[in-house]
């Protein structure tokens, strides 16, 4: 079996995936549309089991794109925290609905069926949305996102600022790492610090990080000027990166299929109330 390290890998915004991933047969616009549609669909579905199925489908997309599933482990804290906050919010603030029925007690707090059902719906939507976002940023580089936006005729300045903001997160972490290394080199021992001291220290990082961010923005401004870029009067651009991608028949069919899927879901939701929570198996379980 061919090991992961023997393949030619490509660094995306969140992961490292093979250059030969089948997902790259598709144009960046198709991939962006896939992200938008997979992000939108759960918003129309109020049956948690369907959203969980949808999340499972996104997991299959991870496998199809050859993203190492072990790389998803780092997102588990976010997924778990989102769940805890959602359920605690609905448990502590159940609302004043006369149809609420008590289903149990937790530390003298009465738990009602409807808020728990609402929490299940909200969390299943968040989970599906989180996974589809992680999927998109794990399988696309900044360049792919810019190519998609520029194909869709988004103004260059908008796409460029978006690219810079995606990059700035990495730069910010790199600067933080540099500041922390400099502190450690001068003998600061984090392990010996109390929690309150750590909090105080983190708040003090703001000053060097802010000044570094300002310096970087100044450098980028100079670099753009030096390369002849001006917001006003820059004229028509060749958009060289677009020459690296082809929008094929497969892309056209895929885009039409994705849009049709979204239209069908919206149609069945509002015409036949097909995705309402009334028939959800979660509701039967809560009863």
């Amino acid at each position: 079996m061919e090991g992961v390290h023997n393949k030619k890998m490509m660094k995306t915004l969140l992961a490292l995936i093979p250059v030969k991933s089948p997902l790259y047969y598709f144009h960046p616009v198709t991939r962006l549309l896939l992200f938008i549609i997979t992000g939108f669909i759960p918003l129309f579905i109020n049956k948690p089991e369907l959203n969980i199925l949808f999340a499972a489908l996104v997991m299959l997309l991870f496998i199809y794109s050859r993203v190492s599933l072990s790389s998803l482990k780092i997102y588990l804290p976010v997924i778990i925290c989102a769940g805890i906050f959602t359920f605690l919010t609905f448990i502590f603030f159940p609302g004043d609905d006369s149809n609420n029925q008590a289903i149990g007690h937790l530390f003298s707090i009465t738990i009602y069926d409807r808020p728990i059902m609402d929490a299940c719906i909200a969390y299943s939507k968040i989970l599906a949305l989180l996974l589809s976002s992680i999927f998109y940023f794990s399988t696309n580089r900044e360049r792919d996102i810019l190519a998609a936006l520029r194909t869709l005729k988004v103004p260059f300045v908008v796409s460029y600022v978006l690219g810079l903001s995606l990059r700035s997160a990495g730069m910010f972490l790199e600067d933080l790492h540099t500041v922390r290394e400099a502190e450690q080199a001068r003998g600061l021992d984090y392990s010996a610090m109390k929690f309150t001291e750590k909090v105080k220290l983190y708040s003090m990082y703001i000053i060097p990080l802010l000044s570094l961010a300002l310096r970087r923005s100044d450098e980028i401004s100079n670099a753009l000027f030096v390369k002849g870029y001006a917001i006003k009067g820059s004229g028509k651009r060749a958009d060289y990166i677009l020459s690296k991608y082809n929008f094929t028949v497969v892309d056209i069919i895929s885009c039409i299929a994705l849009i049709l899927l979204l239209i069908l879901i919206v149609y069945f939701k509002y015409s036949y109330h097909l995705f309402d929570s009334d028939q959800s198996i979660f509701r039967y379980f809560l009863k």
Binding site: R167, S221, N222, A223, F225, K227, G228, S234, A238
Partner: protein, 292 residues
Amino acid sequence: MENIIEINHLTWQYNDTDHPALKDVSLKIQEGEFIGVCGPNEAGKTTLVSCIKGLIPHNLLGSYKGEVKLFGKDVKALSAKELAKYVGFVFADPEAQFTSMSVEEELAFGMENIGIERDEIDRKIQWAADITGLGNLLDKSPYDISGGQKQRVAIASVLAMQPKIMILDEPTSMLDPFGKDSVFNICARMKAELNMTIIMVEHTLDRLARLSDRLILVGEGKIRRFSEPKQFFEDVDELAELGLNPPSSILFLDKLKKAGLYHGEMKTTVEEVIQVAQSVCEKQRVIREARS
């Protein structure tokens, strides 16, 4: 040869500073020349080249007197796009000039700005990558390569735009010896093969002197010396007073001169210095034999 850069009585003071960074500077540079710029820290070298590029006064705040002309046109009247066609600029910190997330896009970015078509961009990327030895790095992120490679990307991205004037502001200051070598080799190749006016700010004087047609010494915001390398190094003591550390070969020849053993002009290449040393030894041998 035509003067393509003319600086007339230029004085520049950055906002919130006590004194001008450049004081009444006048300078003329001819087409096709390789100009080396040296001087101690805070002398005004970067300010001088920033004025030629137009970063001053377009992108930096301060008080500006005098004029800088490129091909007879005042830089104040030129747009960023026009300036990019005339002058390319490579910063000391390669990461400070990256605007894209792949080497290929980095090379294409400047060309897109000045309105070059896709096919032409593709051809020029291959050409610049060939000169700078970046052929196998085009897919990589410019942030994930070595320091020397980063600086080569920075040079290639400017070179691909084929400006008439190329300014390199301390391009080797953040590099290891191997990286420095690669940058100087590219500069030597640009000088030999391309009809480009090159201005290089640099502290590695021995390498700079060998490449330069003329050297500029900047000190306290003024042009202290502007001449060919052989004349530039004539008065070593004065250079040391002005904060410069001349190359060891020059110091060696200066010692020979002071000892009355050599009376010719200063030499900048190792081969020339070896020849001088050999001829001095030969003369000494003849004198010793005559005495005995």
